[in-house]
Amino acid sequence: MKILVCITHVPDTTTKIKFTPDGSKLDTTGVQFVIGPYDDYALSRAVELKEQFGATLTVLNVGTAETEPSIRKALALGCDDAIRIDAEPTDAFFVAEQIAHICKQNNYDLVLMGRESIDFNGGQVHGIVGELLGIPSFSPVMKLDIEGNIAKMAREIEGGKEYLEAPLPLVLGCQEPIAEWKIPNMRGIMSAKSKPLQVIAPANPQELTKSLSFELPPPKGACKMIPAEEAEKLIELLKTEAKVL
């Protein structure tokens, strides 16, 4: 079995988002970048499947050289080798085309990634890759088991779950609780340094969308405090003042 896991390199969830004064890009001063939390779930499940089936596991990232610490972390967690497509991942179609291009050369049985990146929250890449390869894609997948050539999955839907079965190959957007996040151990970290990382120029680069400027939401007004003894007054305020009831 051959598995590809695709990761993003994004600001940590605790980041206070700021943009440069002209609003043209993220102000990255003091921002810590990590593997996207959803990608981390996909990666963790991929490592488990590798152990279960003796699969080979490749990690892929579309990004500039700055993303290499995240790629090395994925190698430390158990990926065998890595591919970095050397480009800014600014448009979902562009990223999906890069992934599909690699997939066409390698015939993976499973392509796993997070349900969405936590910077642009597009949630599009898995679906576009599936379409470009002409194979099924599912998201958000919260449970994944492989039996022979069949993937048995649970997908989260509004208010519940949908259980699915489909033959490999597949592209999946993953989320919790598909696996527990893993922490690399010392041996993993040491061996990651010597694992192969291929850097490739983007193929057929084209963008369908372009973000022109960024902005922050208007600051929130002050919170109106209601004494606990008069808690019942909340309902009246929500009705007459906030007009939400």
Binding site: E162, S211, I235
Partner: protein, 318 residues
């Protein structure tokens, strides 16, 4: 040219978020000087009523294989409808099905897709949409440069007042292949009789401050009197006090209701990420220093077990 809106149904009826999408799509059509067509798949009723929300025509694919949302089959049908209607814009409401389908249609048609759209497009210089990014912490103004465009809109961003107009209903028979049905849905588990969290106008959420699942009665009762959905913080679903689909936040459901009431939730940045587009936020917490108060419109410092019953009583008298 036209604007096509994919309408999702539940038990044969259009979901509220899809009605909002129809209203939004009709407005975009008006801005472009064209008309809006709604697309409905599987068994459905009262289709002409989509005209109330601005659709002039409804395309209906009455194929019972489409009664459940098979992602590949839906994507194939929607892409064919876009071609048939020569639609320049496809609009849909974000959902677990809508998101998965929009991406595939974008791949198939090579159409630029913007998700989490929060406003009508700006057409003064190209086609630019404002979308929510960094999980609600910021916005991007994104230009879509392809001829065909797809917009997945966030809930509660456009208000429509229904009219008495009706839409004409036309049967549509797209080509479906066996390969569209290779995935089998073997079972569906769905909470019944409760309000769906992403669709809800009011959400009452509980956190670890409620101490255990046996104490959820006050959350459920307040939700019931307000006609609200129930939600929770991540540790609460991790501890299995509540089902995973109620988990709100960065790694859970993102909600944008009119009213979000948080009880015993500290307001960690990852929780706020899922609720920061709510119109009004109420926080009930025993700790006056809880960070959630900074993101709230109304706050009550107190013990949830004393405060919430008082609110329930007042809501019952409303």
């Amino acid at each position: 040219m036209s604007v096509l809106i994919f309408v999702e149904t539940a038990e044969g009826k259009a979901k509220p978020s899809s009605l909002e999408a129809v209203g939004y799509g009709a407005k975009v059509a008006e801005m472009l000087g064209t008309t809006a067509t709604a697309l409905v798949l599987g068994d459905a009723q009262e289709l002409e009523k989509l005209g109330n929300y601005g659709a002039s025509k409804v395309l209906h694919v009455a194929d019972s294989r489409l009664n459940t949302g098979i992602i590949q089959a839906y994507s194939n049908v929607i892409a064919q409808a876009v071609e048939k209607e020569n639609a320049s814009v496809l609009v849909l409401a974000k959902s677990s099905l809508g998101d998965a389908v929009a991406a595939r249609v974008a791949g198939r048609l090579k159409a630029g897709l913007a998700s989490n759209v929060v406003e009508l497009p700006n057409l003064s210089n190209g086609f630019v949409v404002k979308r929510s990014i960094y999980t609600g912490k910021a916005f991007a103004n994104t230009m879509i440069s392809t001829e065909k465009k797809i917009l997945a809109i966030k809930k509660n961003i456009y208000s429509v007042t229904p009219s008495s107009n009706t839409a004409s209903v036309e049967a549509f028979a797209p080509t479906l292949n066996d390969s569209d049905f290779v995935a089998k849905i073997t079972n569906t588990e769905k909470a019944t009789g409760t309000i769906s969290l992403p669709e809800a106008n009011i959400v009452v959420s509980g956190g670890r401050g409620l101490k255990g699942p046996e104490n959820w009665g006050i959350v459920e009762e307040l939700a019931k009197v307000l006609g609200a959905a129930t939600g929770c913080s991540k540790p609460v679903s991790d501890l299995h006090w509540r089902p995973h689909h109620e988990h709100v936040g960065q790694t859970g459901v993102k909600v944008s209701p009119n009213l979000y009431i948080a009880i015993g939730i500290s307001g960690a940045i990852q929780h706020l990420a899922g609720v920061n587009s709510s119109k009004c936020i109420v926080v009930i917490n025993s700790d006056p220093e809880a960070p959630f108060f900074q993101a709230a419109d109304y706050g009550i410092v107190g013990d949830a077990f004393q405060v919430v019953p008082k609110i329930i009583e007042a809501a019952k008298k409303m």
